[in-house]
């Protein structure tokens, strides 16, 4: 009985928990509430994925008002998978967050921080689960506003300007999105995705819809940090508190990528904009530029968190490249990379969190001898770095495999080259860190071995372990990704 209500509970539980945190006003209590809620959400997400897998699309009309009059949740394999990604990262971050947040945020603000965290989680879940383009905007704003706030809590004063710039760019993006939605609504009279998908083909030739598509692309492009709309990202990731960086890097942009896929393939699926227009080519070129350009920039960073942030931009390039191929394989590659990148980048940023916790800085020159001083953390970093490079047995290898395969099937040789060159660049930027950490002696007077607390190391290794587990046996994730990709190409449901 209650299982039928899971779609609503998926989002509502986190929403409901946020004011509870506000009332509790005690850091530990707020943390406990947030932890329990994220874990329950994960359980719900998994069970939803299981149900979708067995029985197909789940529809959940809010307030029992049938779509398109009411707002309806539509859960297919794609967003069920997204829900799992978001809640999975959310639940792993929680145990990690306790010590990390206490070290980085003033005590009397911590309960509010968890309140924000839950809202952010709910916002992301709301984006992923909804079948209504305007509802998507509302939840996009919940998640965006809370992420601006969380980013601004970084210790460095640059966190403030990073948050401000993100706010301005994010709001521009949201407004562009809203303009696009308005134009679509104008031509179709509906906001429901499935409904839009059936009506749009009839009016697809109108200039209004073309412009709408352009605005949606730019708006979401800003949110997912598509090159050259990525300018907000490096500072935001660099100066945000560790736990926030982990969570946002692993989920925030991923959900935006999901929204992008959703708009293009479900809403505009019947229109086949991709097969006619020049949009795929433009996207592919931007993606390739991101993959190469951001990787090159990453090589020259001296702040390791920032280095990883640029690497994220490059990885988003991979995802967009997969989208731009408009083939099942490409899209499956993107979807599986959403998951894979979430766990490996989450793990890497967690390693940064551990180092920040102990050393107080993630400047490269602070890494000297860290291989000896924090062996467990650094081993995790190296292991995660392998995944970023795409060494076999890691998830990074799996995604790369399918993206290259998709590019080969399509005959896009330059895309193949871009993927491979980008992984080689990853070798360089990862190796710079490894060399400093392992082949330079620790600075004099530093403590022998001082590791981060277990509550941080265990989540770290869970993510790193997952990035190997799903790299060694990728059949499950890939099955899901392929079914998801086929769903997106299938007739609109």
């Amino acid at each position: 009985m209650i299982a039928a209500q899971y779609p609503a509970l998926q989002v509502v539980l986190a929403l409901l928990a946020a004011p509870v945190c506000l009332i509790l006003r005690r850091p530990r209590a707020a943390w406990a509430v947030a932890t329990v809620i994220t874990w329950i959400s994960l359980a719900i997400a998994l069970s939803l994925l299981g149900r979708v897998w067995e029985t197909g699309v789940i529809l959940y009309p809010m307030g029992d008002w049938a779509a398109p009059w009411g707002i309806e949740y539509q859960i297919d394999t794609v967003n069920a998978f997204m829900l799992v990604i978001v809640t999975l990262i959310g639940s792993v971050v929680m145990p990690f967050a306790r010590a990390s947040v206490e070290a980085e945020i003033e005590e009397e603000r911590i309960y509010l921080f968890y309140c924000m965290y839950l809202l952010n989680l709910a916002g992301l879940l709301g984006i992923a689960i909804t079948g209504d383009v305007f509802n998507l905007f509302v939840f996009l704003e919940i998640s965006s506003l809370s992420s601006y706030v969380m980013i601004s809590l970084g210790r460095d004063q640059r966190a403030l300007t990073a948050a401000y710039r993100y706010l301005v760019m994010g709001t521009i993006g949201a407004t562009f999105y809203i303009i696009g939605v308005g134009m679509m609504y104008m031509m179709t009279g509906t906001l429901n995705m499935a409904d839009l998908a059936t009506i749009l083909p009839a009016v697809a030739d109108s200039r209004t819809i073309q412009v709408a598509l352009g605005f949606l692309t730019v708006g979401l492009g800003l949110k997912l940090a598509l090159f050259p709309l990525h300018l907000w990202l490096p500072n935001a990731y660099t100066y945000a508190p560790s736990a926030v960086t982990v969570f946002l890097a692993a989920t925030g942009t991923k959900v935006a990528v999901y929204a992008f896929i959703r708009i293009f393939f479900t809403v505009f699926g019947g229109v086949e904009v991709f097969n006619a227009g020049f949009i795929p080519e433009i996207l592919a070129v931007l993606a390739a530029l991101a993959m190469i350009g951001a990787s090159v920039v990453a090589i020259y960073q001296t702040d390791v968190k920032r280095l990883l942030a640029y690497s994220s931009i490059a990885q988003i390039g991979y995802m967009v490249l997969g989208i731009s191929m408009v083939t099942v394989t490409g899209l499956a590659g993107t979807i599986v990379h959403l998951f894979n990148h979430a766990i490996m980048k989450g793990g890497l940023f967690m390693a940064m969190g551990c180092i920040l916790f102990k050393i107080g800085s993630v400047q490269l020159d602070q890494f000297e001898g860290l291989g000896k001083r924090m062996p467990v953390t650094m081993a995790a970093f190296v292991a995660g770095g392998f995944s970023l490079i795409g060494v076999p047995l890691t998830v990074g290898f799996v995604s790369k495999w399918y993206l290259v395969q998709a590019a080969l099937e399509k005959g896009w040789w330059l895309a193949v080259a871009a993927i491979l060159v980008s992984s080689l660049l990853a070798v360089i930027y990862i190796w710079r860190v490894v060399e400093v950490a392992y082949f330079r002696p620790p600075p004099k007077g530093s403590a022998e071995v001082s590791e981060a607390p277990l509550s941080m190391l265990v989540p770290l290794w869970i993510l790193i372990g997952a990035s190997y587990y799903f790299g060694i046996d990728a059949t499950r994730t890939l099955d899901i990704a392929f079914v998801a990709a086929e769903t997106l190409f299938g007739p609109p449901q």
């Binding site: 305007f134 905007f137 509302v138 704003e141 506003l145 601006y148 706030v149 601004s152 004063q157 640059r158 403030l160 300007t161 948050a163 401000y164 706010l167 301005v168 709001t171 521009i172 407004t175 809203i178 303009i179 308005g182 609504y185 104008m186 906001l191």
Partner: protein, 117 residues
């Protein structure tokens, strides 16, 4: 005829772009927020404009009235307005903190100061 029918939209577009210009071209952080406000407000006008039906009235049901304007955009914009003010509040709060930390709210001066860090 069609030309006149679109004139409204064009003015709105001019409004939007003015707001957009203020956001991206101005250095002052508060003014950027003002720009965002104008940008968003013009989008709201755009929605409300499309909801209008000639000869219609406000969508409050009453006897004897046949033609109403479309209520859905109104609802959407109610939501959007609140979202807008929420963003404004947050943005301004950040501006205050930035002013505390950097002593200025001009973007280029802040950037100069950041480069020194």
């Amino acid at each position: 005829m069609e030309f006149l029918g679109l004139l409204n939209y064009w003015i709105i577009i001019v409004l939007m772009m003015t707001g957009f210009y203020i956001v991206i071209a101005h250095n002052n952080l508060v003014k950027k927020i003002v720009g965002l406000n104008i940008f968003q407000a013009s989008v709201f006008v755009f929605y409300i404009t499309m909801a209008k039906v000639k000869g219609g009235t406000a969508p409050i049901l009453a006897e004897g009235i046949e033609v109403y304007s479309n209520p859905l955009p109104h609802v959407l914009i109610l939501t959007a307005i609140v979202v807008g003010v929420a963003t404004t509040a947050l943005g301004l709060a950040l501006v205050i903190r930035i002013r505390d930390a950097y002593g200025t709210i001009e973007d280029d001066e802040i950037e100069a100061r950041e480069n020194e860090l």
